[in-house]
């Protein structure tokens, strides 16, 4: 009698745990890439985006040259709004804000500096700076937009 009761209790507990984990699936960055990504970020990205990914001062407004400064990559920024494909393209091929006053790239191109796996590692590190909600949103975006047609069109020119 007691055994049956404990058995039912264990089965019930396991069911609840499995349902709970299904319902609140978290997006966890790939740990194997995290350390490598952090190191690459400090070497290549921190000079503009800050050692703590806090972005340049007054990043929300054009600088004295009339160009947009480097934004933060944490939860206060907007990196989390972009799909993996978009982030890979931006890091690899760079990007220029069309309203910059100079012809300089807003984001320089790193395709000659970073291998694809290194780019992936940096993106993995950036994901660790976001909230869970932001990671989930970004995951949805990545699934919905495996390739960004507008950006592809722009960068293919």
């Amino acid at each position: 009698m007691a055994f049956r009761m404990w058995l039912r209790l264990c089965i019930g507990l396991l069911s609840i745990l499995s349902l709970t984990s299904y319902a609140s699936e978290t997006v966890s960055p790939d740990i194997s890439l995290l350390d490598a990504g952090r190191e690459i970020y400090q070497q290549r990205c921190a000079v503009c985006h800050g050692a703590d990914a806090e972005g340049a001062p007054d990043w929300q407004k054009p600088n004295q040259r009339g160009d947009m400064p480097a934004p933060p990559h944490g939860s206060e920024g907007h990196t989390w709004r972009h799909s993996d494909a978009m982030l890979q393209q931006m890091i690899s091929q760079g990007w220029r804000d069309p309203f910059n006053k100079t012809e300089r790239l807003t984001m320089p191109a790193f395709q000659k500096v970073l291998a694809p796996q290194e780019t992936a590692a940096v993106i993995t590190y950036l994901k660790s700076l976001w909230t869970e909600e932001q990671r989930q949103y970004q995951q949805q975006e990545s699934k919905a937009r495996p390739r960004n047609p507008a950006q592809s069109q722009l960068l293919d020119k």
Binding site: Q60, H78, R81, H82, M86, M90, P98, N148, A150, L154
Partner: protein, 292 residues
């Protein structure tokens, strides 16, 4: 003698009665802006397949044939107390979306004969603004005051909160597929102090140029997506560089409350008094349209 006089009197009475009836019927059939509640043109849209201009007033909706200038009233469901925006879906003549506080987002797939709510995922039905994506027919953006801007990518099937919107935002927006975005285009939003602009990833709102004052109408030219039109108390302004610089469009009608540019590049304006105007190509002249 008296009988003759009575008959004359009776004939005269009948004639006057007939005249009054004719005048009554005539005045009933003419719908003027003054007859409509508020009389303000709230929103304009256009169906490229049928060439109809969709004209929304606070309590009335019309499909206006731009060739014949004949208008057909579109029956509204009882849940609609006040229209705040109308969107005709590009490429599908029968599909119209309405925003109406209290009813939320409504969609018709048969030109307005029947309507269904499309509010799943919205925090309420106080939808005060609604626009369509420039080239993705099933993507819509809705504004709920005090809640923010919501996006649907499945024709209103469900909605997701994207952003709180720029500071001092009103409910008027437009989506442009102007190049240079990190995503698929740009959202321009009317504020009480000018025009705000963001890529449609909603990464960052920035001021679009130095246009000052409350924006009462906003649209873009699908043929030239960097051309944005904005209405202020001073008139209609046009930017040719995505909102960086603005110039007054000469001869603008007064008190513009709605703007729209069709895929052929024809600019329409609706006013607070319910009038409609179109801007003649290559001239400075604005032509009053539809006789109001």
């Amino acid at each position: 003698m008296k009988l003759v006089q009575f008959r004359k009197l009776l004939r005269g009475y009948k004639a006057v009665n007939l005249l009054i009836s004719i005048l009554f019927l005539y005045s009933s059939s003419v719908v003027s802006a003054a007859d409509l509640a508020d009389g303000k043109v709230v929103s304009l849209s256009h169906n490229p397949a049928s060439s109809d201009l969709i004209v929304a007033y606070p309590q009335a909706l019309y499909q206006l044939d731009t060739q014949t200038q004949q208008r057909v009233s579109v029956a509204l469901p009882a849940t609609v107390e006040r229209i705040t925006a109308v969107v005709a879906q590009a490429g599908n003549p029968g599909v119209i979306y309405l925003a109406a506080p209290g009813a939320g987002v409504l969609r018709s797939t048969d030109g307005g004969k029947n309507w269904e709510p499309r509010n799943e995922g919205l925090p309420g039905k106080a939808v005060t603004g609604l626009i369509g994506h420039a080239n993705q027919p099933d993507t819509l953006y809705a504004v709920i005051s005090d809640a923010g801007i919501f996006r649907s990518e499945n024709a209103g099937g469900d909605w997701q909160l994207m952003d709180g919107g720029p500071e001092n935002m009103t409910d008027i927006m437009v989506h442009s597929d102007m190049p240079g975005s990190m995503q698929t285009g740009w959202v321009f939003a009317a504020t009480r102090t000018g025009v705000a602009r963001s890529m449609d990833c909603f990464c960052l709102w920035r001021e679009a140029g130095a246009l000052v004052g409350e924006i009462t109408g906003l649209t873009y030219n699908p043929k030239q997506p960097a051309h944005i039109y904005a209405a202020t108390v001073e008139g209609v302004f046009r930017s040719q560089d995505g909102g960086e610089n603005w110039a007054l469009v000469e001869g603008s009608p007064p008190e513009v409350t709605a703007l729209f540019v069709t895929i052929s590049g024809q600019l329409y304006a609706g006013t607070r008094s319910g009038e409609l105007f179109k801007k003649a190509h290559q001239t400075k002249r604005w032509q009053q349209f539809d006789g109001f």
